[in-house]
């Protein structure tokens, strides 16, 4: 049986780890809430932008818009959104598994990868995939400009005809307990374009140029949404993972305490026996 001091030390270390996981859970919860607020805040802009584009699109010659260009598919781009840090359960594993499966079906040498987050970069680099660019170390100070700069690279890669289609793989935030891995087509963009109603509005400079300047911005806000979804999911996953860790620690403390008590009891019993038998010997 382990001696008392060892058990006491183990209890102490488990307790301090529990404190850490508890704190991490709280931090993740706060970050998740903030990310959800930001998703809410992005909605008005996104809706207005989409409405306007849909409103203008029926009047615009689609051939002018290279981002709507549907081409024969030779190469495909994949944007994989992961986190920089682990400790979030199966969050990154799920994403990477899905992304890699899809890429392998198409063929590794036909796919260009854009890595977002350290985990994606490390994963695909190690396996020698064709990486175009990686964006890492921005999650802690996530800002709209990150979405813009990520999009710039992706857009130019598409318009330069290096790839004919771009997919995004990210974690969609459903609720705290559920996040779904989603794989969506980012480019070429698809718009429904609602029935055009006549309006006496003034369009400056003209509808074509308005659309041309708005579509890249639409892509930016789309990317912003992916980033926020992924960030919320990451924090939710971490929250859950840390909660489990805290519970496990509690369980371990319980077991160790029991073991400690047993060991102590055994020690006391042995001592008593020794005293009694010593007294017996003196009497004798």
């Amino acid at each position: 049986m382990a001696n008392l001091k060892d058990i006491r030390n183990r209890i102490k270390s488990v307790k301090s780890i529990q404190k850490v996981t508890k704190a991490m859970k709280m931090v993740a919860a706060a970050k998740m809430r903030r990310a959800q607020e930001r998703m809410e805040e992005a909605r008005p802009f996104e809706n207005r932008l989409t409405d306007t584009i849909n409103h203008l699109l029926p009047d615009v010659d689609r051939d002018l818009l290279e981002l709507l260009d549907i081409r024969e598919i030779n190469r495909i781009g994949y944007v994989v959104v992961t986190s920089d840090r682990g400790m979030a359960g199966s969050f990154n594993t799920n994403i990477l598994k899905t992304a890699q499966n899809e890429i392998d079906i198409i063929g590794k040498n036909k796919v260009d990868v854009f890595c977002i987050g350290k985990k994606a970069r490390d994963h695909f680099k190690r396996r020698d995939y064709h990486i175009i660019s990686s964006h890492v170390d921005f999650w802690s100070e996530l800002e709209y400009s990150n979405a813009i700069s990520i999009c710039e690279g992706i857009i130019s890669h598409f318009t330069d005809k290096h790839v004919d289609k771009i997919h995004v793989v990210y974690n969609e935030f459903i609720n705290v307990a559920t996040q779904h891995v989603q794989s969506e087509v980012l480019l070429p963009l698809v718009f429904d374009g609602d029935e055009n109603q006549f309006s006496g509005k003034l369009y400056e400079p003209n509808k074509d140029d308005i659309i041309k300047s708005l579509i890249p911005r639409h892509l930016n806000i789309q990317m912003w949404k992916y980033l926020l979804e992924s960030y919320s999911s990451e924090q939710a996953a971490r929250m859950l993972a840390m909660e489990n860790a805290t519970e496990n620690a509690q369980e371990m403390i319980k077991d160790l305490t029991l073991e400690f008590n047993k060991a102590r009891q055994a020690a006391i019993t042995t001592e008593m026996l020794e005293i009694v038998s010593g007294a017996e010997a003196l009497k004798g």
Partner: protein, 130 residues
């Protein structure tokens, strides 16, 4: 002077600016002004400076573009990013300017991107001096 309602919507917030008398925006091919009872319109905006006159006082914003929708009720500026004069970090803008100039000098690929970065930096510096 008659006034109208101005709202600025960005991906990170919606801010109600209240009643203003005049707005000057950087359209894609030149600045234009908006006063009360303007005709309904949708106008694309480029990188530039926005001037807002509220209670006789002028305020300036630097924006990287977006669009504006003018309706009978109000004027909405949908901007990707904007900064007020007092919010602009001049040293950051100066660094960005330097970086963009160097890139253009080195003739790095993606000339359009570099030019846009340069324009944004110059614009922010200009507005910061307002």
């Amino acid at each position: 002077m008659s006034s109208f309602q101005l709202e600025i919507v960005t991906p990170t917030k919606v801010s109600d600016e209240g009643q203003v008398e005049y707005v000057r925006c950087p359209g894609l091919d030149g600045s234009f002004g908006v006063m009360a009872s303007h005709r309904e319109a949708i106008i694309a905006l480029g990188i530039g400076e926005i001037k807002v006159t509220q209670n006789g006082k002028d305020h300036f914003l630097a924006t990287s573009g977006g669009f504006t929708e003018i309706t009978k009720e109000k004027v909405e500026l949908l901007l990707e990013t904007y900064e007020r004069t007092e919010e602009i970090d001049t040293s950051r803008a100066e660094n960005a300017l330097k970086r963009a100039e160097e890139r253009i000098k080195a003739r790095e690929t993606d000339a359009i991107r570099n030019k846009a970065a340069l324009e944004r930096a110059v614009n922010r510096l200009r507005v910061s001096k307002r």
